[in-house]
Subunit: 167 residues, 6 copies
Amino acid sequence: MAERPVERAGDATLTHLNDAGEARMVDVSDKPATAREATARGFVRLSAECVALLRSGGVPKGDALAVARIAGIMAAKKTPELIPLCHPLPLTGTDVTAEVTDDGAEIVARVRTLGPTGVEMEALTAVSVACCALIDMIKAVDRLARIERVEVAAKSGGRSGDWKRED
Amino acid sequence: MAERPVERAGDATLTHLNDAGEARMVDVSDKPATAREATARGFVRLSAECVALLRSGGVPKGDALAVARIAGIMAAKKTPELIPLCHPLPLTGTDVTAEVTDDGAEIVARVRTLGPTGVEMEALTAVSVACCALIDMIKAVDRLARIERVEVAAKSGGRSGDWKRED
Amino acid sequence: MAERPVERAGDATLTHLNDAGEARMVDVSDKPATAREATARGFVRLSAECVALLRSGGVPKGDALAVARIAGIMAAKKTPELIPLCHPLPLTGTDVTAEVTDDGAEIVARVRTLGPTGVEMEALTAVSVACCALIDMIKAVDRLARIERVEVAAKSGGRSGDWKRED
Amino acid sequence: MAERPVERAGDATLTHLNDAGEARMVDVSDKPATAREATARGFVRLSAECVALLRSGGVPKGDALAVARIAGIMAAKKTPELIPLCHPLPLTGTDVTAEVTDDGAEIVARVRTLGPTGVEMEALTAVSVACCALIDMIKAVDRLARIERVEVAAKSGGRSGDWKRED
Amino acid sequence: MAERPVERAGDATLTHLNDAGEARMVDVSDKPATAREATARGFVRLSAECVALLRSGGVPKGDALAVARIAGIMAAKKTPELIPLCHPLPLTGTDVTAEVTDDGAEIVARVRTLGPTGVEMEALTAVSVACCALIDMIKAVDRLARIERVEVAAKSGGRSGDWKRED
Amino acid sequence: MAERPVERAGDATLTHLNDAGEARMVDVSDKPATAREATARGFVRLSAECVALLRSGGVPKGDALAVARIAGIMAAKKTPELIPLCHPLPLTGTDVTAEVTDDGAEIVARVRTLGPTGVEMEALTAVSVACCALIDMIKAVDRLARIERVEVAAKSGGRSGDWKRED
C-alpha cells in the first residue's frame, strides 16, 4: 500500500494498481474525510408502446419506476460488494429519480458521503442497476429495451474540487 | 400469485405486476426447468490515451480487464439481490469477455442455467457491472469514460425459443 | 448429517440439532423436490394520524407501501443469509401485499418453491422485514409504531400436506 | 436531496420521500456524528412443550438461543441491505439477549453507533430476525409459534435526545 | 463456454480458464444433477491457556465454539459470493463440528448437494471461515492463534466417484 | 454492552462474551478512531506440476493469481458478514499479493482502516478466502492442495501499539 502511484504513459496513472501492476484497493488512509457528492445519469431507450404503458397512469407506472428507483438506491449501498476495488463508504444520502420521456426513461442518481474518497462509482452503479431493474419490469412488453448511456455527470467535494461533465 | 397475467394496452402485459398492479416475483412454479442461455453485450467509450494504456501490454492490462471480467461473473450470481423481482436461479455457466477496441472496450457476457425462466437479466447485469468495474479501474486516467450501450444480444431455450437481436 | 433425528421430551424433536445437540443445517438430500407454498402474515399497529397519511392518496402512499412490499420480496430471497440453518431454495414465486386498515397495516407474503423442504421461513422473514421497512418509512410521524403479530398462516405441499392455522 | 422535508397533514412529515413524493435515502450529510444507542424488544409466544424443551438444559437450549442471538447480531449489520432507505452506519456495539419465560421467549437488542443518524432500525431488525431464527429452530416442535410484539423500547443520543417507550 | 477444456502441460487442465486463458465459471449445463458430499477439515493451534479456557465448561465454551460452527454453516452458503468462479448450488445439508484438543481445535465441515458439480469448495470455505471466527472469539487471550491446516478430506458422488485423502 | 469485560482464568478475558457469557459484538463506542493496519499471511502447498503450470507464464498464471487476489480484497470487505461478532469498519486500503514459490503459493494481505478497533480479522479473512479461491482455480490439476498456514503477521496502531509476530 505504498503511497507512490504507479506512473505510466506520461502523467497517466492507474492508481488501482500496486507497484507490481496488480489490482489493489488504493490506500486513502491519509486523505481527510470531507463532504462529497456525485451525480450520474443514464438513459434506457424504450418502444413507443412501452412508453405509453408507463405513462398510462395508475399504480403500474408507479410500481415499475418505484422498483427501478429502489433498486438503484440499494445498489448504491452495494457498490463495494460489486466493484472489486471500491472502498466501503458511509453514504449520507442517496436519491434516484426516473422520468419517462417520449422515447424512453432518464434515470439520475445523486449520492453523498462524508469520506476520504468520492462516490462517483456509487452513483454510476446506482444508475446502472436501476436501468437493469427497469428493463426487468418491462421486458415482457419491450424485448429491445436498451441502455444507451450511463455516465458520471458531476461531482463536488474532495481535493479535485467541483467538476461538471461538458461533452 | 394468480396465474392470470394483467392485461393492458392490447397484448402488452407487465407480468411483474399482480392483479392490483403491484410489483411481485412472477410465479414460474408450473414452468419446466429447461436449458437456457442468454448473451448480453456492452460498450464503454474510452479516450485514446486510455485505450493506449490498456493496450501497452504487461500485467496492468491483464489486471484491469481481469477485474472487470471477474466483477461481471460475480454480478451474474448477485442478480437476484440486485434486481428486486428476479428469481434466484442455479447458474450452470458464466463467461465474460472484454476486448479493447480503438475507441473503447466491448464487454460480452454469456450465462447459462437449467431453470424455469431465462437468464437475460443475469447477462445484462453482468455486463453492466463489468462496465462499471472497468470504469473504476481507469477513471483516474479518463474521467469522461461512458457506458454507451448495454443490451441483450441473444437468448435460447425456454418456451419462446431462440431469439437474436436484429436492430 | 445422520438421518436419525434427535429425540427429546417424548415425540418432540429439534431436527436442527445433530446427535451432539449442536446446530446444523438439516440434511434433506433424500427428500424429493415437490411444489410447496407458504403464507405468512403480520400486522403493524399505527397511529390514526399515520393511517390517515397513508390513506390520503397520491404517490407517497404508493411509495411507502411499495418500499415495504419490495423489501419483503427481496428479504424472502435473503432468508438463507439471515436464518443461519435455512436451506438455500430456488424460489419460484413471491408476492407481498400491504393493506392499510383503520388501526394499522396488514402485510401478507406468499412464497412458492419447487424444492425438498418448505418455505415457511421465507414467508415469515419476508413479512418481518416488510413490517420493519414500513416502520422505517413512517417512523418520523409515528414513533410508537409496533409489530403486533407475525405468523405462518398456511402451507401446502411436501410430506406433511396442507395445513392452515386455526387458533 | 433537498433539505426541505415534505410537509403533509399538518406537522406530520414523511422524511423518506423527496419533493416528488418518491422514496429516497434522507440526506444526513449536515448532521454531526454523535454517540447513539437504541434498544428494541420482541416476544415469541411458544407452546408449554416448547418452553419445557428450551428449559430442559444441556446444549440444545444453548444452541437454539445462541443461534437466534447470533442471527440477530448479524442482522443488525445487514440492516442497510434489508431496509431499502436505511443509511449504512458503523455500528460500535451490538448485544442481543434471549430469555425464556413461561409462555415464550423475550428477545432484546441493544445497538450503538457513532453516526449522523440513529440505530432504531438496526435494533428493530436485529430483534425481528432473531425472533424468526428462533422460530426456525423450534418449528418442528411448535408449528404455532408466533411473534407477538416487536418494538423500539428506548433510544438515546442525537438531536432528539433520550426517549423511552411508555405505552 | 466452449466444452473443450484448455489443455496445458501434458494432461493438466485448468478448467476454470476459457480458450483465451481467461477466468470463467465452467459450464456444467450438460452434467446431470447427482447427490454429492464433501468433507473438509482444519486445525487451529491454540495456547494451553486458551485450550484450558475453552475446556473450563459453562456457557462461554459453548458460545465460542457455537459461533465458529454457525459462521462455518453460513459461510458454506456464501461460497458462490466469496469464490469468484464457484457455481451457486442448492445445498441440502451442512454440518460443522468443532472439537477442542490438547493443543487447539479441530474443525470439520460436511456439505451435501444434489447438483451438477461438487461441494469441495463449500466445505473448504466453511472450515476456513469457522477457523477465522474461532480466532476472532479467542484472539484477546491468544494473539498467536494460527490456522495450521485446511484441506478437503473426502468427497463422494459425481462422475469421479468416491475419493478419500490419503497423504 | 457493559464496559466491564468478563474476567476468567486470571487475566485472560474473552471480550466477545457479555456478563452472562453470551456472544456479543464488543462495545467500542468509547474508543477513538485511529489509523490501524494489520498484515496476515498464508501458504497453500501445491504439487510440483501445479507450481510449474502457474509459473509457465502467459495469461493463465495471471488470471489464476489475479482471481485469488481479487477474492481476497473482496473478502476483506465482507468480513463483518462472515465473522459474526466483527464490527463493520470503513477500510481505507487493502492489498493482497500472491507469490508462487517452489512448493506452493504465499499469500499476504495488508489492510488499513481509520477506526475504533483493529483489522486483524479483515486481513486474516482476506488471506483465508484468497487461499480458498486459489485452490478453486487449480483443484482440477492438484486435488491435494492444502492450506498449511494462515496467521496474523503484524499490526500497528490502536492502544496496544505495534506488534510483530516472532514465533
